[in-house]
Every structure is written in C-alpha cells, then in structure tokens.
C-alpha cells in the first residue's frame, strides 16, 4: 500500500498550486459567484481563463507534448483534477472534448486528426459538443435516426440531437450519424466531426427544471461535413462510441470527492446555521451520505491504481458512475432534509440558498445522462457479474 505520489508528481502539484493561487481571483471562490453571472459572460470568462492555463502548461496533462499536452503521468492527472477543484478553479468549458473526444482521438485518430484536434481544444480555440442522444434515442442510443447521405466528398446530415452540453457555445460536434441507408441498431453508424458554424446547424438552449440551460438541442438541416472528418472508420461509429464512452473511468474521482466533500461541508454549515446540526437523526443521515462519499474517494484511488498498473478496468466504469451519481443525488436529498419546512425558499436568515438549490436540481439529472442508473445496473449485472441477458 502506498498512497503517496512520486516526487516528480508532488513537484508538479506545487507548481500547479502556485499558478492557480496566482490566477484565481478571490471573488471566484465566493459561493454563488458563477451563478450570479449570465450564461454568456460566465462562458467567456471561463474560456479565456482556461486558455491561459493551457498556455501556462497546465492542460492535456497526460497527453504527449508533440500534440500540445504536458506528457505527464496518471498521478499528475489526478493531482491536476484534485488541485483545480481545491482551488475553486472554474469548470472547464470543454468537458466533453477533454474527457471523451481527446483520448479517443489519441487512440484511433489519424495523425492529422491528432494535430488538428488536440492543441486547439486545449487552448479552447475549438469548443466541442457531443451529439449522441436523440428525442427517440436516450438510453437506447442505437435507435438514433439522424441520417448522413453521401454527396461527393461530403456527407449531408439531417436530424436532431438533444442533451448536448454547451450546445449554444459549441464550435464543433462529434456526432453519431446513420450513414448507411437502411441500416439499423449498431450498424451503419459513423462518428462525424461536424462544424457547427454553418447554415445547416442550429443550436438552441434547452431549459431545465432548475431554470438553467447547461444542455441544448442541435438541429441538422442539410448540414455538410467532409467524409474525412470521421473518427474511426465510416460505418464503424458504434465501436468508436463504445471506445469513447469507456474513457468515463472515474480517474477524476478524487477531484469529484474533493468537490462533493466541499458541498457536504457547505450543507453541514447550513445545518449549523439552522441549529439542526445537533439533531441525532439528521446527524445519522449526514453520516450515511458521508460514508458513501468516502467510499467514492477510495474507489478513485483504486481506479487510479489500476490505470497506473496498466490494468484493464473493463466494465467497472458502470460501478464508478453508480457510486458517484447516486451518492451525489443522496447528498442533495439530505440538503432538503436539512432545510425541512424551508426546503424551497431562496434564502433563510440571509443565507442565499439558490446556488445550493441549483446543485440539488442538477443532482436529479446525473442518474439519467451518461447512461442512466438503470443502464449501469444492467451492465454491471451482465458484464461484471455475468448474469444472463
């Protein structure tokens, strides 16, 4: 057992810490700061800050330097994730690109794709969206109907995608498109990289129950994309998608823990302010959810160990998703318990609860997107436990 990082990794940590402490204004760490900005302003601020961070060498931690990465270790990536949360760094504006697209490009992209995609993504010159879900294809991704028809060197794309993060700010979108006429289910799909700045693409915000619009809808109406802008083979998009989704490995679990633990502490603070922190039943409830958060931290250390050892995590990603999403949702249910009769108020005793309510509402979505809890349990039961389909 060795829960320490290497000397080089710790050195990286202190470099990063210095940069972060010099480059994050105090007011950004104030609860509710980001919620107080309008959507566009928040996006612009984060986009620019993240570009500066990349230019300072703190981006693409694990990717080769030749493509603009830092050439670091998995441990450095974990440290990076943890420290940015700890320092209240703003959330990335390129989450789908960084988490999913980049490692997939590194694994199966052409040399040209690696060069064209990674660097600009790190510098936020290109914001990437993901186009997977459709109104009729949610948990059942393979039911997608967005069509691409070959026209010379291009595909002409028609259809609709939903649940697209950052849709209205996106520059390009990696999209699952049915490019083989008459195909069904997993066959005949291609992963096309479509420029969103063209007349055939229309992105609209999708308002959520919280009132915010993290997600959007993207409509393709004779949108064009060169056939070479396909990730993986044409027609082999299902395989590309499965590889892509496999990068949701919880390697950032330590950062997640750091964030959720801070939220737990915030909830405890509210309980204290309301005088409910001494109620034994409430304490038991808080402790139950803290137990799950601690388990999440340990699970993240396990995952990081497996990655460092070069072991295949197989379908363990489903467990990771279940643990963090269900624990996170529980955490915010407990917040409502803490508020009791004031559960829906915007503020109590001068405490502005709206940023916390926003988290609580957001927590309802995490067991749905990225493979619902029901889908993750199916995968765990069938692929990990070997129960029959």
């Amino acid at each position: 057992m060795d829960l320490t990082y290497t000397e080089a990794e710790e050195e990286f940590r202190s470099e990063l810490r210095s940069w972060l402490s010099a480059n994050i204004p105090d007011e950004w760490t104030r609860p509710g700061f980001w919620e107080s900005l309008d959507d566009d302003e928040s996006f612009r601020l984060r986009r620019d800050w993240e570009r500066d961070k990349a230019l300072a060498g703190f981006a693409g931690i694990q990717w080769p330097t030749e493509y603009g990465g830092r050439g670091g270790t998995p441990g450095m990536k974990a440290i990076y994730d943890e420290e940015t949360v700890r320092a209240h760094a703003p959330r990335t504006v390129n989450p789908l690109g960084l988490t999913f697209l980049a490692p997939t490009v590194m694994a199966i992209g052409t040399e040209a794709q690696k060069k064209e995609i990674i660097g600009p993504m790190l510098r936020n010159e290109v914001i990437w969206c993901q186009g997977f879900s459709e109104p009729g294809a949610g948990s059942d991704l393979a039911a997608l109907t967005t069509k691409g028809v070959r026209d010379g060197d291009d595909f002409v794309v028609n259809g609709q995608k939903v649940w697209t993060t950052n849709a209205v700010h996106g520059d390009k979108i990696f999209t699952m498109v049915r490019t083989e006429p008459g195909s069904s289910k997993h066959r005949g799909i291609s992963m096309l990289l479509i420029d969103m700045h063209q007349p055939g693409v229309d992105a609209r915000p999708l308002k959520q129950m919280s009132g915010a619009s993290e997600f959007g809808e993207v409509f393709f109406d004779d949108a064009r994309v060169p056939a070479r802008d396909c990730l993986g083979e044409i027609g082999d998009g299902w395989r590309t998608a499965m590889l892509l989704l496999s990068f949701e490995r919880g390697a950032s679990g330590i950062a997640q823990y750091t964030e959720f633990r801070r939220q737990y502490d915030q909830i405890v603070e509210v309980a204290r302010a309301l005088g409910r922190d001494k109620d034994p039943v409430m304490r038991g409830t808080l402790a139950r959810v803290l137990t799950e958060l601690e388990c999440l931290r340990l699970h993240a250390m396990h995952v990081l160990t497996q990655v460092e050892q070069g072991r295949d995590l197989g379908f363990e990603a489903s467990m990771t998703k279940l643990q963090w999403s269900e624990a996170f949702q529980d955490l915010w249910e407990v917040f409502d318990d803490v508020l009791g009769e004031d559960a829906t108020l915007d503020s109590i005793d001068g405490i502005d609860l709206r940023p916390l309510h926003a988290q609580a509402m957001w927590s309802r979505s995490v067991t749905i997107w990225g493979g619902s809890s029901q889908v993750q349990r199916n995968i765990t039961a069938e692929r990990v436990l070997g129960l029959p389909r």
Partner: protein, 345 residues
C-alpha cells in the same frame, strides 16, 4: 364498517378534478409558475372555487358554509394537489377553522360567511407569533385576515395590520410571504392549547392530502408515459426494474391515501388515536410524494428534467409541502412519543 368515500364525497372529488382538468389545467399552472412576480392567485380559479363551495367546505351551515367534515376537505386538498393548483384555498379554510373552533360569536359572524364565500381570503401563519415577523405564510400577501400565534393562544390579524414581503421559493405553484405584525392581533378567545393542537392537526391533514394527490398523479403520469415510451424496441414500462419500482410506489401511495383519509376521519370524530393517525398520514404522505415525484423525473428519462415538462411542478411542490407542519423525521419523533413513551394497556 365503511372505510371509503361515500358517493357524495366521490362526486365532490370528481367536480373539483373536472373543473381543474377543463378550466385550470397544467398549462394554466404553467402560467402561474412562469410569472413569479405575480400574486399566484388566479381570479378565475378562485371564483370557481367559491362558486363550487371549496372554501366553504368546513364552515357551518349557520354561517353560510357547507358544514361538511375534514374527510370532504381532504378530498378537495387531494384533488388540488393532483392538479398542482395554485391559490389560497388551504389558508382560507384553516383561518375559518381557527375562527370556528376558537372565535367569539361576533368573530364567527363577521368572518365565516365572507371566508366561505371566497369574498375574504384567509391565511394561517405556521411559525412565529405576533407581534413579530412571521415567515413563510402561504399567500400571506393576498390574505384579508391571517391567523397567528399570539402568546399561548391564537389571534386574527387583518391586512391593514401587517405588511407582507414576498419570499422567493422555487415552488411556483404557491406564493409565500413574510409578515411583519406590530400588534398582538385580535385574540380568538377560545384558543386553548387543545384547540391550537387541533388546528395544527387539521392543517397537517390537509397538507398530507395535498401530498397524496401529488404522489398519485405523479405516479399515474409516469405509468402512462412508460406504457408508451419505446426504448430498445419495447415500452420502457416493460422493464422489470421499472415495473417493480412503480409497483412499490403504487403500494406506498395507496397506503398514504388510506392514511390521509383515516386521519381526517379520526380528527373529526375525535378518535383516541387521532394524534397518531395525523403523524402517520403526514410522514407517509411526505415520503411517498418525494419518492413518486423523484421517480417521475427518473422514469421519464431526460424529458422529465426539462422546464417544458410538468414533472418539476409536482417535484417542487412536494419538496415544499413535505416540510410543512413538521417533516417526516419530526412526525416520526411524534409517533415515537405516542407509541414508545406510553406503555400500552
């Protein structure tokens, strides 16, 4: 043994639901939700409510009310919950109840007919006491008269005697206000500790019934959606894990329906286990409403998480009401007092 609604009670239920379905459906609710600066008190709905006797339900006939019981009142509350309907019905009924139970003949004569007819809007301040600031009063800003704690008893405070400050709340199906009251109000002379407890019990039953209505409607809508929505070539509702979750909810909601009905009767009839029945009803109703509305979001998939879908009306209303007059933990603490600290005969 007759533990069920009578035909008359069923007709009352059908009338309320019928009106909401035809004249104040979820699109109308959306109008209220999307106008947070508005008073949340649609005139057409209140007029219809008054015409149909909803605020008059518990007012004695001698004061121009319907003279019915808490069983009928919970029928209305449940239907309003199912319709996530806005408006000051509950506060008006409870203000009238306070006056009926503890008011002087003069107070009764002055207020009960007006509250019964909907001419006056009433409210009940759940916390604080006069003089002082009373937080989170449902529809306090539109109330003509508010029943408040004052000393050990209860008092009436008229609109001229308080100033209301709206309090933001994410449940857009109701409006809350904080009331600043200078004086002690006009005492309700009969307000003993027992009467205060009885009023609280009645308020709790009506909140429980609203929650039960929410829960049943959330479940029914989810079942209907999952019967049709196709994924993997089959209806989502054919997946056993979803079936079982919905079946468990059906059992839970049915139990909560029983519990709200019984509590209403037990309070009206003064049954010896009335206090226990009220706590059981509120605990169960709060829990199933939270569960059913969370399930409504989850089992609609992404669409249930959107603003355009109605799931959040139910979810948010359940969140607010589950805490009123003691959340489930508080009710369980009460149940423990009633069944652990008392050695059974």
């Amino acid at each position: 043994m007759f533990f069920a609604l009578t035909d008359d009670q069923r007709e009352f239920d059908a009338a309320v639901r019928g009106y909401l379905a035809e004249r104040f459906d979820l699109e109308a609710v959306r109008g209220v939700v999307e106008d947070p600066a508005g008073d949340g008190h649609p005139a057409s709905l209140w007029k219809a409510a008054a015409e149909q006797g909803w605020p008059a339900v518990l007012v004695p006939e001698e004061h121009e009310g319907l003279g019915l019981g808490l069983v009928e009142a919970q029928v209305i509350a449940r239907a309003l919950g199912a319709g996530v309907a806005p408006g000051p019905w509950r506060g008006t009924v409870l203000a009238a109840e306070a006056i009926r139970l503890a008011g002087s003949p003069e107070q009764q004569a002055a207020w009960l007919p007006r509250l019964a007819s909907g001419e006056a809007v009433g409210a009940l301040a759940p916390r604080g006491s006069a003089p002082g600031t009373l937080p989170a009063v449902e529809y306090g800003a539109v109330a003509d008269v508010v029943v408040v704690r004052s000393g050990e008893g209860l008092a009436l405070v008229e609109a001229s005697a308080f100033s209301a400050t709206p309090q933001g709340s994410y449940d857009g199906t109701a409006r809350l206000a904080s009331l600043a009251v200078d004086g002690t109000g006009e005492a309700l002379p009969g307000a003993t500790a027992e009467i205060v407890a009885e009023l609280t019990a009645r308020a709790t039953v009506l909140v429980a019934a609203d929650l039960v209505g929410i829960a049943r409607e959330a479940l029914s809508r989810t079942v209907a959606y999952d019967r049709d929505r196709q994924q993997f070539g089959v209806p989502v509702g054919s997946f056993q894990a979803i079936k079982h979750a919905l079946a468990d909810l059906h059992v839970g909601v049915t139990m909560a329906e029983h519990a709200a009905l019984y509590a209403a009767h037990a309070v009206d009839a003064g049954l010896p286990d009335a206090a226990l029945a009220v706590a059981v009803a509120k605990a169960k109703a709060g829990d199933v409403a939270l569960d059913a509305t969370a399930a409504m979001i989850q089992y609609h998939g992404g669409i249930g998480y959107t603003w355009e879908h109605e799931a959040h009306f139910f979810y948010k209303r359940a969140k607010r009401l589950a805490g009123q007059f003691g959340d489930s933990d508080a009710q369980r603490a009460r149940i423990a007092e009633l069944t652990i600290d008392t050695v059974p005969a």
